[in-house]
């Protein structure tokens, strides 16, 4: 289980996270929603151990990422798979080499076995035959799929998705969401996703958490969030502009 307690972070005197609290159940899909600039990516970076908070704790399987050495954090990261917003594929490597990279660098598997697993991994995301191409030679949607294949190749326990559908057309958004749901069902990993895709995410999430002004203002199953009486939540999921006042009041 991932447990976040009182997470606080500021940059140059500007507070981005203000005592954020959240629990993520094992095997669930938890989606964090919220406006741009609300601190979602900063929060995700704390979960990944890329940032240290000013105060608070991030517990992953009982290990507090904020109070252990880099080696201990790496041990927790061995259980992670991460899909970055832009894919973060290594542009000097082909798609197959990208997917093979974690296996090549972190396991003792032979070349033939790695090749076999990469082929299976790419097939799982519907990208047979794309292996020899470089990331710049394929479309944005395909890059996201390669990134998902790379994140899942080591069969991680926890997978983080940082806005995996940003910049894609609605058909591709649904296709990526379907893929994530399908892979989650097959591998049973815990998924933490940051997304803006309303209402599509309500179809795949077990839990939705609304992050606003550095805090989780509402958390629960999709139906509870959709029926929430919190004006901030309602304004966000309905995509209403600021005249409603909810965001202004809260700010």
């Amino acid at each position: 289980m991932i447990k976040v307690e009182g997470l606080t972070k500021s940059f140059d005197g500007q507070m981005v996270l203000r005592g954020l609290e959240l629990e993520v159940r094992d095997g669930s899909i938890t989606i964090i929603i919220g406006r741009s600039g609300g601190g979602k990516s900063v929060f995700l970076k704390h979960l990944l151990g890329l940032l240290r908070p000013d105060a608070g704790r991030v517990l992953v399987g009982g290990v507090d990422l904020t109070g252990v050495s880099r080696r201990e954090i790496d041990r927790v990261r061995d259980r992670y798979g991460v899909v970055f917003q832009g894919g973060a594929l290594f542009d000097s490597l082909t798609c197959a080499q990208n997917v093979a990279f974690p296996l090549r660098e972190k396991t003792r598997l032979g070349r033939a076995e790695i090749t076999k697993r990469v082929e299976v991994g790419l097939a799982q995301v519907g990208l047979e035959g794309v292996g020899p191409k470089y990331p710049e030679e394929i479309s944005g949607g395909m890059r996201k799929r390669v990134a998902i294949a790379r994140a899942l190749i080591t069969e991680p326990e926890i997978v983080f998705f940082d806005e995996p559908t940003t910049g894609l057309d609605p058909i591709l958004v649904n296709s990526i969401h379907g893929l994530i749901q399908d892979l989650h069902r097959r591998f049973g990993f815990t998924a933490v996703m940051v997304s803006h895709e309303i209402p599509e995410i309500f179809g795949i999430a077990d839990t939705v958490a609304m992050l606003h002004d550095g805090r989780i203002v509402e958390v629960g199953p999709p139906e509870a969030i959709q029926g929430s009486r919190n004006p901030i939540v309602q304004q966000f999921i309905r995509g209403q502009p600021d005249e409603g006042g909810a965001f202004k009041e809260s700010g």
């Binding site: 890329l50 991460v82 973060a88 660098e105």
Partner: protein, 264 residues
């Protein structure tokens, strides 16, 4: 709380303090960056493939520019020294003068400046782009050290390639001087090379060697550091690349003077 006039008087000191603290923080980060790179050099796993790639990136791909600049530097030296020495009737010393100038001073400095312009800037830009496109974060969250893949191999490649490229620069430069002094201006071949053997000693070669070795460390250290801690977006990469080249070039000249004084 201080009143307004007091605050206004103290403000310059406050700003100065902020600047000094900022500078100290940068220096500390610069030093700890190098310490982390050195630590990765002496602890496994060693990334041999990345090291070989970096030798190709920094060394092999800089060969053309090294040969070109080496040849023309030697030719210019040959011409100017011949004209100067001939005023004193000492043209016979053209060979050693060209060789000493290149081996002790111009070879290490110019080769380092050329490699900084070609490979150092590319190194900063490459690592900077990897930073802003989250490729470095991707390595980190895979529990793999970006230092082992990007920084340490580059610094080690600098240590290996800079002395080799300086040696090449020196040899090509000496032949450039030969071309002008012997083939164009009529000095005898035996005089050019014979006097060189008399006046150039092992100490001179070692001086050039230590200089080029330290430039290799300096340039790759600065360029990888600037790329690793790049600012935001394309503008951040552009600024980091410029800073890397300017800082490396200035440090090469400062360090050259310092080593030149110590290794006399």
């Amino acid at each position: 709380m201080a009143d307004a006039p007091t605050w206004a008087v103290l403000r310059p000191f406050e700003l100065l303090g902020e600047r000094v603290l900022g500078l100290l923080e940068s220096l500390g980060r610069f030093g700890s960056f190098f310490a982390r790179a050195v630590l990765s050099m002496v602890t496994p796993p060693f990334k041999v493939r990345a090291f070989v790639d970096r030798i190709d990136y920094i060394g092999y791909r800089s060969l053309v520019i090294i040969v070109l600049t080496g040849a023309f530097t030697g030719m210019v030296l040959g011409l100017q020294l011949f004209l100067t020495l001939s005023r004193f009737g000492s043209e016979a010393f053209l060979g050693p003068a060209v060789a000493l100038g290149l081996i002790r001073e111009l070879g290490p400095v110019l080769a380092a400046l050329m490699v900084t312009g070609r490979a150092g800037s590319a190194l900063t830009a490459e690592i900077g782009i990897m930073r802003i496109t989250e490729q470095i974060d991707a390595l980190t969250v895979m529990a793999l050290s970006p230092f082992r893949y990007l920084v340490t191999p580059s610094i080690l490649a600098g240590v290996v390639t800079f002395p080799l490229m300086t040696a090449l620069f020196d040899v090509v430069g000496i032949f450039g001087g030969y071309l002008v002094g012997v083939k164009l201006l009529g000095l005898s071949e035996g005089t050019y090379f014979g006097e060189m053997q008399t006046f150039v000693h092992l100490d001179d070669i070692l001086t050039g060697f230590w200089k080029s070795l330290s430039f290799g460390v300096l340039v790759t250290w600065v360029c990888t550091y600037k790329g690793y801690y790049v600012g935001h977006g394309a503008e951040g990469v552009a600024r980091a690349t410029t800073q890397a080249v300017v800082l490396s070039s200035v440090l090469i000249l400062l360090w050259d003077y310092f080593l030149g004084s110590v290794l006399r």
